[in-house]
């Protein structure tokens, strides 16, 4: 074949729709053939049995008669054969025909008075001439050593075969046509779904990250695949949005203290004239620079925490001991700021992790509580077992985090508008989220009504076995 012919043909055979259609049509045709074959076979067996039974009855009747009566009976039997289907012959011991329409003693028949398949050559039959004809036949030996044979041709069987084949021929064409139509309809429908998925993927590739693959809401494999891909797209969109936000957030967080430094230095240079006043101005500038540096450190720190190589340093740690350490470390600060910090922790709670990171995360949660909760309110640090896991909870009476913002604040580098006005790097929760992620722990923000609770839900198993 030349290439101009090959290419479209290959394209056609490669097309899923055509392959599906052909497969379905072939399947239907095969089923039709098997079905007709089965019908033919069953009918043939039935028909042969009917012939055999009739022959056996006749043989039994003839066997009971004396030879003379047999000759007359066979002549009558043949004479009564309106459809010209019967064969019979009575031969003496020398093989001479005494009566009947058979040319000679059939030599391919067992003379055991049981029905067998045989091939007869008839006389007086102008139907087939000398052609041997397949028959069902019964033969037996007469008392004088001769042969008696009766048989019935298989024309009825042949007729039936022809009828069935004709029926098959008539039925097969519509079957193939119908299966081609159904097959192509099914294939087209699948193609349409795949086509719409292709278009959705193309739109996503063009940057429309909000686009999703169409899902029909069934449980078929295509839908399940699309649902999986959509979930993956959710995560990718999430990550891309985070990355987009990072630059803006960091720039914003750095600009504020740096602008302050600039203004202070500029005004100091213009307006201040004593060494003491200048020193004071510079001290304040240093504080602002330190704030900017704190943002940079926090960003770097989160980057370090996210590095999964840190898991190599993991070992068994006791959450209760870490909570006690955090309590001891932060209790004076709480007291100074007018909070009533309390610790509720009992038995050891052993998990696999990094004690320093967990303490740092807990410290960040406590500092957040001190930042946002009203002075004088209680802040509780709690370690409690919960269905095979441990919950490390920091609970305060602060304003909490609105439901719609909860997911976002746990994302790395997200800052709520509210927290921007509050001192600090503002990346505290991001660091907690990074630590939780590294450990394979879950982080949840809940309403403590009144107030807010942040749960670090710690699974005792090692994070390597935890799907991240």
């Amino acid at each position: 074949m030349t290439s101009w012919l090959v290419a479209p043909w290959q394209a056609l055979t490669r097309s899923t729709a055509l392959r599906w259609t052909l497969a379905i049509a072939t399947g239907f045709t095969a089923i039709a053939l098997v079905l007709f074959g089965f019908i033919y076979w069953e009918t043939a067996v039935y028909e042969r049995k009917t012939i055999d039974v009739a022959l056996a009855e006749e043989a039994q009747r003839l066997a009971a008669l004396p030879l003379g009566a047999v000759l007359a009976a066979i002549e009558g039997w043949i004479a009564n054969d309106v459809h010209a289907t019967r064969y019979a012959g009575v031969f003496d011991a020398d093989g001479h025909r005494l009566t009947g329409n058979l040319l000679s003693v059939p030599d391919d028949l067992a003379y055991d008075r049981r029905p067998h398949a045989a091939t007869f050559k008839g006389i007086d039959r102008d139907l087939d001439g000398d052609n041997p004809e397949p028959v069902r036949a019964i033969g037996w030996r007469s008392d004088d050593g001769g042969h008696i044979v009766i048989g019935n041709d298989l024309d009825a069987l042949e007729d039936m075969k022809a009828i069935i084949l004709r029926a098959l021929g008539l039925a097969l064409l519509p079957t193939i046509a119908l299966s081609l139509i159904v097959g192509s309809a099914l294939a087209k429908r699948a193609q349409r779904r795949i086509g719409s998925m292709h278009r959705a993927i193309a739109r996503i590739m063009q940057g429309q990250l909000g686009e999703r693959l169409p899902v029909r809401g069934t449980t078929d494999s295509l839908d399940r695949l699309a649902t999986g891909v959509n979930r993956m797209l959710d995560e990718i969109q999430n990550l891309v949005e985070q990355v987009r936000g990072v630059g803006d957030n960091i720039a914003h967080d750095l600009r504020t203290p740096l602008t302050r430094v600039r203004t202070r230095l500029e005004r100091g240079r213009e307006e201040l004239h004593t060494v003491e006043a200048l020193g004071d101005c510079m001290d304040r500038a240093i504080v602002s620079v330190d704030q900017a540096l704190a943002v940079v450190s926090a960003v770097l720190r989160i980057g370090q925490v996210q590095h999964h190589a840190r898991r190599a340093l993991f070992g068994p740690v006791d959450l209760t001991a870490i909570a006690r350490d955090a309590f001891e470390l932060y209790e004076p600060l709480a007291e100074e700021q007018g909070f009533c910090l309390s610790l509720e922790a009992g038995l050891p709670a052993i998990v696999t992790g990094d004690a320093d990171l967990l303490l740092e995360a807990l410290g960040n949660l406590l500092e957040n509580a001190f930042k946002f909760a009203p002075a004088g309110s209680p802040v509780t640090l709690r370690v409690q077992p919960s269905v095979g896991r441990f919950v490390l909870r920091v609970e305060d009476r602060g304003p909490g985090i609105p439901l719609e913002e909860r997911d976002r604040v746990l994302r790395r580098f997200y800052r709520s508008e509210k927290s921007r006005t509050i001192e600090g790097s503002g990346l505290g929760l991001s660091l907690v989220a990074a630590v939780a992620d590294l450990h394979g722990f879950d982080l949840a923000i809940l309403d403590a009504s009144p107030g807010c609770a942040v749960d670090l839900i710690c699974s005792p198993r090692s994070p390597e076995r935890h799907p991240v």
């Binding site: 450190s297 770097l300 720190r301 470390l329 600060l333 007291e335 100074e336 303490l359």
Partner: protein, 227 residues
Amino acid sequence: MTTARLLLIEDDEETVEAISGYLGSRGYEVRRAATGPDGLLQASAGAVDALIIDRLLPGLDGLTILKTLRQNGIRTPAIMLSALGSVDERVEGLRAGGDDYLGKPFALAELAARVEALLRRPTIGPETVLRAGPLHLDLVDRSAHRGGRRLDLLPREFKLLEYLVRRAGQTVTRGMLFEEVWNYKFVPRSNLVDVHMSRLRRKLNGLGEEELITNVRGIGFILDPAA
């Protein structure tokens, strides 16, 4: 005390100038090496009291210099400087034979305090009693007295006071306290150490008694035994 000689192995001109100027004005003699091999050569020659080594250097990195020196039996106290301020970096630096580790950026006063601490490192010997001015610490039964008055200290407060007494007259920074007294490797909010310190001060100072611990502006604290 004779002038302490420091060897600063650092390639960044501006950092060198800032450190030399600051430490020079505090009475240290600061020598300089701009490359790794030069630094190793000068440090091996001895005749310096402490080393300040940048971690990333042209030719030979700081960790290798330290390891080589220690392998050759040179025990000159050393501070590692690094822009890589992570916990693991710190652990690596200390493991290579560094005595202290300081992440960039740092306050010059912090470096000065750490250099001073390095040069006047207290020998943690078999003594069971520490004294500084009116303070008297019994390390065996973990009791502390100011004059005749017994101080009621929590274990961590005792540790904090012990650290200050061992370094009486020296500036100790918040970072040093956090690393040495609390043994934590992350940098907390600055006033976390301050609130612990003010608790300790309240317990230390009886009615009308002199303040023993003074703030060093912007950097840390000093326990003045002469007070």
